[in-house]
């Protein structure tokens, strides 16, 4: 079905199920319980999960398949965001043209960047992309202030009058999809649980499913095979009559367009952009997501994006008071000591936890979280097998 093999179709269905049921899955704890702060099922965070999932899927198409490590991918995300917000400010508040604009602008920008950077490979390629991304950031921050809004960035203001809208005088436009406000939510409360179904999230989730599907198709296509060939052996590639340059450029542009799509969606959700979106730490983050989840795997980047965004938003919210509450059952001296030990890893220290997790994954699971999952799967299978054979020998005893 859908031109996928059985295994890929299974994966696609699992991802579809998870994204569609995310409001339930991410809110496992009752509202009044102490664990409620670990609930991630609120619209803002769920949107970020899927949008950064798209960003990482696109990054993985370049890094996972061709092995070219771009260290400036946030530039495409930012450029896509600026394109999208101008579309909203000037033409229409509907998110579809805005998202399209984001993809197109990022695509054009990545053709230019790719043309320059792909003259080199390896570390030089990474440095070139990093340099261009930092230049873009600097431009957006200062020189191009008339277009980018400089340090404060761009928002939709009450003075903006998009061409295709009928706003009342002084009314601030809101992003919508054919009249449906992105921020509109439907809340369902069952017992002590509260589940939020947000329009913006579901739109982003559908876009991510399409992006994920396209990425599966690219992985399994002749083009995907050529990209893996480039990663494996460029010499043999050239001496097999294949020109690596247009292949890598095409992969780079597709990847840049994914980033633009993510940027456009970010704007569609919160209708604002700032230059910090292009800062090099943002480029580094997508590299971390992809490696953490599993480079070159289909689902890995999405997992990685989820884990990092979860930690960024949930772990960072835990503060000293919460810790004292948790360890209140301990004797006073011990309580203080434990809080003292744990404190550096939470709140603003969440980066420390991320760093440790990242090191552990890279050292023990070079294939990322996906490899971890595969190992657990194998272990369970082997155990079951051992049990079966054990059971069958029993009667003989």
């Amino acid at each position: 079905m859908l031109g996928l093999t059985k295994k890929d179709l299974q994966l696609m269905l699992i991802v579809t199920g998870l994204t569609m049921l995310a409001p339930f899955i991410l809110n496992p704890f009752p509202e009044s319980s102490g664990m409620a702060q670990f609930n991630a099922g609120y619209p803002d965070l769920m949107q970020r999960f899927v949008i950064f999932g798209i960003f990482a899927i696109g990054f993985n198409l370049l890094f996972g398949l061709t092995g070219y490590l771009s260290f400036g991918h946030a530039a495409f995300l930012g450029v896509g965001s600026y394109g999208a917000i101008w579309m909203m400010k000037l033409v229409s508040l509907n998110v579809i043209p805005a998202i399209f604009m984001g993809v197109i602008v990022a695509g054009i920008f990545s053709v230019a960047v790719g043309y320059i950077c792909l003259r080199r490979s390896g570390i030089y390629f990474s440095i070139l992309t990093l340099a261009i991304a930092q230049m873009s950031y600097a431009l957006a921050y200062s020189v191009l202030t008339p277009i980018t809004g400089g340090e404060t960035g761009l928002q939709i203001k009450s003075t903006d009058r998009p061409l295709l809208s009928n706003l009342a005088e002084g009314e601030t436009g809101r992003a919508n999809l054919f009249g449906m406000d992105m921020r509109q939510s439907f809340e369902l409360s069952i017992g002590d649980w509260l589940f939020t179904f947000n329009v913006g999230y579901y739109i982003a989730a559908v876009v991510m499913l399409i992006a994920f599907y396209v990425s599966i198709r690219i992985f399994r296509s002749p083009f995907g095979l050529m990209l893996r060939a480039i990663k494996s052996n460029q010499t043999r590639m050239s001496y097999t009559g294949l020109n690596p340059r247009p292949h890598t450029l095409a992969a780079f542009v597709i990847s840049g367009m994914y980033a633009g799509l993510a940027g456009g969606l970010l704007v569609a959700m919160d209708t604002q952009v700032g230059p910090e979106r292009m800062f090099w730490t943002a480029s580094g983050e997508v590299v971390l997501m992809t490696i953490l989840g599993g480079v070159g795997t289909l689902i890995g980047p999405v997992l990685g994006a989820g884990v990092i965004k979860y930690m960024e938003n949930i772990l960072s919210k835990i503060n000293k008071d919460v810790l004292h509450e948790w360890f209140a059952f301990m004797p006073d001296g011990l309580e203080d000591f434990i809080v003292f030990l744990v404190y550096p890893f939470i709140g603003k220290g969440w980066h420390l936890t991320l760093g440790i997790l990242f090191m552990l994954v890279v050292i023990f699971l070079p294939g990322g979280l996906v490899e971890g999952g595969q190992r657990i799967g194998k272990w369970i299978k082997n155990r079951r097998k051992a049990k079966d054979t054990g059971a069958s020998t029993e009667p003989a005893e």
Partner: protein
């Protein structure tokens, strides 16, 4: 006129004249060996033929067209395939995928964006790759990771990948270097079979005289960047100039 005509080719690296006025003519559908002591310029000559190096002087014509100034992939698409001294294969991919890539290159050219099709559903490519693996006696290694194979298998895979492109000229750079005797003999048999069964010209650079004299129909001896002799194998063996180049004057 041969299929490959090398005229007055010279190449200099700084103060070293690696090649000086090399003339070579390889006739169609023959096996032509290029031999010579270390540093004779054999590999430099080969690199000039495939576009890795550009000679300073002279011309290289393949089938009436100049190859000079073209990139390796363009020269390959003209019909020249190269086998490397250490097998160059796609180590991260499976044997089958390795074989499919040259089939795609033959059918679709240097670049064609086919990002939506499923590669395993390209019937003609899959069939051709499977047939070629069968020819190379590797059908059972289909799903193996190419890097995990033995040296001899890698070599056979590489030769098979080159043949899948149906080249008119196959260049081999010391194909049996570092191989055990049995593997060497297998490679000789394979090359003999290829040359007998296919419409193909083979040019081979080789150190191992056993390989050279079991395969070659014509031999060129290079020494210090210039060709000493070009003749049939039986005349080469006892040629005084060749003995001199290989063994030094006193021994001759």
């Amino acid at each position: 006129m041969g299929i490959l005509e090398v005229k007055d080719v010279g190449k200099r690296f700084g103060g070293l004249q690696a090649l000086g006025d090399v003339n070579l003519s390889v006739k169609e559908n023959t096996v032509h060996a290029i031999i010579g002591p270390n540093g004779a310029g054999k590999s430099t000559l080969l690199n000039c033929l495939v576009g890795k190096l550009i000679p300073d002087t002279g011309s290289v014509m393949f089938d009436g067209q100049s190859v000079l100034g073209r990139t390796p992939h363009e020269i390959n698409q003209m019909g020249i395939s190269r086998v490397f001294q250490t097998p160059e294969i796609f180590g991260d991919l499976t044997v089958m995928e390795n074989m499919m890539i040259p089939c795609f290159a033959k059918r679709d050219g240097a670049f064609r964006m086919r990002a939506v099709e499923d590669m395993m559903r390209e019937k003609d490519i899959v069939e051709k790759a499977e047939a070629m693996l069968e020819d190379m006696n590797m059908a059972d290694k289909h799903h193996m990771n190419a890097a995990s194979m033995s040296r001899g298998d890698k070599r056979r895979l590489e030769i098979g990948m080159c043949l899948a492109q149906e080249p008119r000229l196959l260049l081999l750079d010391e194909p049996t270097a570092g191989m055990a005797r049995a593997d060497t003999n297998n490679t000789i048999d394979l090359l003999k079979q290829i040359s007998d069964e296919r419409d193909i010209t083979i040019a081979i650079i080789e150190h191992d005289m056993h390989v050279v004299f079991s395969l070659a129909q014509r031999i060129t001896v290079l020494a210090q960047g210039t060709p000493l002799v070009e003749d049939d194998p039986e005349n080469i063996k006892g040629h005084p100039k060749v003995r001199e180049a290989y063994l030094g004057e006193t021994a001759a």
